[in-house]
């Protein structure tokens, strides 16, 4: 088991940058960036600096870490990608540099990395593609071939497609409206992309339907899959049991796992996708 102890600190928004439909926030959160591993995430307080006991908005908001890098005078900083989907993310996207936030992380289990230099395909959709960029770097350091598939509804919802070329051998762009790259859903192109790359391992982050398709496509060619689930999290720390994921245990028995501490990354063949998608949300 590869567990990293999370920290709960007061962080500061260092910079906010709007890129397409997303807001990229650079956050100083002492100690957290140093512990980061691709696939782990951070939970932020929204609506206040966290010291009001959550009387404004009690639930935390969870974000993938897109980049970890040294920023002059602040040591390592985290870059997270915020898409405005509700009042909490809207509040966060509108905060100026200097805003203080309670930051907890790194949380969850990271992507497992292969021991051998195998061929890896990374598939990400929308803002959820964020954790695949630091993952691509780690995989390349290990000598793995990395093919990156970046997908989105349209050009504005494509995450860092240009930067992707720096971290991957091959980059494929897919948009639903065909404004850039291949037109349609990633699911429709998966079989061809995996075959072309002779994938040994497929990593994916995005909507549940995409993750399910990736898990099945990987299984069909005998590849491993690692899927990063984006379930709604309330505490994000494992305390509340609010983020149920139906899985199959190593003994083959059905179980209910927690997305935040047992995941967010699960082996694709361990998730009971039909039960997960059957859930009302």
């Amino acid at each position: 088991m590869s567990e990293v102890t999370p920290l709960h600190v007061t962080g500061t928004v260092l910079a906010t940058r709007k890129v397409g439909a997303f807001h990229h926030l650079t956050v100083v959160a002492p100690g957290i960036a140093e512990r980061f591993r691709p696939g782990t995430f951070v939970a932020l307080s929204v609506g206040a600096d966290g010291s009001d006991g959550g009387t404004v908005r009690l639930g935390r908001r969870s974000f993938w870490v897109h980049k970890v890098r040294p920023t002059g005078g602040h040591g390592l900083t985290l870059e997270i990608v915020v898409e405005e989907v509700g009042p909490g993310t809207r509040w966060l996207a509108g905060q100026p540099a200097g805003t203080r936030l309670a930051v907890t992380g790194p949380l969850g289990r990271p992507f497992s990395l292969p021991k051998e230099p195998v061929s890896c395909v990374l598939v990400g959709h929308g803002h959820a593609a964020a954790p695949l960029f630091p993952l691509a770097e780690r995989l390349r350091e290990r000598g793995c071939g990395v093919s990156l598939v970046v997908a989105g509804d349209d050009e504005a919802h494509l995450l860092s497609a240009l930067e992707a070329r720096r971290s991957a051998r091959a980059v494929t762009v897919v948009t639903a409206d065909g404004s850039v790259g291949l037109r349609g859903r990633v699911e429709d192109h998966l079989a061809g992309l995996l075959e072309q790359a002779r994938a040994d391992v497929v990593y994916a982050a995005g909507p549940t339907a995409l993750l399910h398709a990736v898990a099945e496509a990987a299984e069909a060619i005998g590849a491993w899959s690692q899927t990063a689930l984006e379930e709604p999290l309330v505490c994000a720390t494992g305390l509340c049991h609010g983020c149920a994921v139906p899985v199959v245990g190593e003994d083959g028995a059905p179980r209910t796992a927690r997305a935040c501490v047992d995941g967010p990354v699960f082996r694709g063949d361990r998730v009971r996708w039909r039960d997960l998608q059957g859930v009302a949300r």
């Binding site: 009690l58 907890t104 309330v234 720390t237």
Partner: protein, 281 residues
């Protein structure tokens, strides 16, 4: 700042409320469990429960509505894995129990009473979200009393029974009196309030929104039953809250929902009470 409760000496008057500390391991990342007055487990049932459908927790102004549905591994797994881990940490373990029938409560009491390291049992008489066939529906004080006497009968004398009631202003005093007559050593006031998720499913409202109600229930019960040890719960998140409840007659307090916003809350309150024990609220 130690307190004495039903013959137990607690390291602090601050305990973790049932269902808000994960399995204990997750909370231990943010502080030493031995510093807390006690760790109350999530409610354990005789058989494993997968828990309810998603979404299980929804944010609401000043609180959360939850319908976790008793997600827990069942008594066997709890005794084999979770309890020994908590005991090894040196935590003061209070096991919360819930059953579908009177017989299940008695079975749970008998098995847990002989397990090493159990300091007390907290009998959940007030689940706000699960009714009908899944959990014994304790609507009336005499039913609550029946469950408590069944538990008391099957438990060694040295292990106190804490009865956790609803924050129901109209029935709380009568229910408290009945459970004490039935053998409860202390009364916990109280659980989340019966509420509904936005889709209409039954759930429980907790957090700062219910704090004034919890305080009223506690004060009324203390006035009617001044000799009964009371443990307060319901929206407690600051040291001022702790003092208000202790001032109204509580011997100790439980911190629950606040931990889902900030996992360091309980430890912070322990420290603040130690640093400023005499400061007036």
């Amino acid at each position: 700042m130690t307190v004495t409760l039903a013959g137990l000496t607690l390291a602090s008057p601050v305990l973790v409320a049932a269902g808000c500390g994960g399995t204990g391991r997750e909370l231990a990342a943010y502080g030493d469990l031995t510093r807390l007055g006690g760790f109350v487990t999530r409610s354990i049932t005789l058989d494993a429960r997968p828990g309810g459908a998603m979404p299980r927790i929804v944010e609401t102004p000043g609180g959360l509505v939850n319908a976790i549905g008793f997600h827990n591994p069942g008594l066997e797994q709890f005794l084999a894995i979770e309890l020994p881990w908590l005991v090894r940490q040196g935590a003061r373990v209070v096991v919360s129990i819930a059953g579908s029938t009177m017989g299940e409560y008695a079975d749970l009491a008998r098995r847990l009473g002989s397990a090493p390291g159990v300091s007390a049992l907290e009998v959940n008489l007030s689940a706000p979200d699960a009714t009908g066939p899944h959990v014994f529906d304790i609507r009336e004080p005499f039913q609550a009393g029946g469950v408590v006497s069944a538990v008391r009968r099957d438990l060694p004398r040295g292990i106190p029974v804490l009865a956790k009631l609803r924050t129901d202003v109209f029935r709380v005093v009568e229910t408290a009196r009945t459970v004490v007559e039935a053998g409860a050593d202390a009364v916990v006031i109280g659980n989340a309030l019966p509420a509904a998720l936005p889709d209409g499913r039954p759930g429980g409202l907790s957090g700062p929104a219910i704090r004034p109600l919890a305080l009223r229930c506690l004060a009324d019960t203390h006035a009617a039953l001044p000799d009964v040890p009371l443990i307060a719960s319901g929206g407690i998140g600051t040291v001022a809250d702790v003092r208000a409840f202790l001032g109204a007659g509580a011997v100790a307090v439980q911190v629950g929902t606040a931990l889902l916003h900030d996992p360091t809350t309980a430890h912070r309150l322990v420290t603040e009470l130690e640093e400023l024990p005499g400061e007036a609220s």
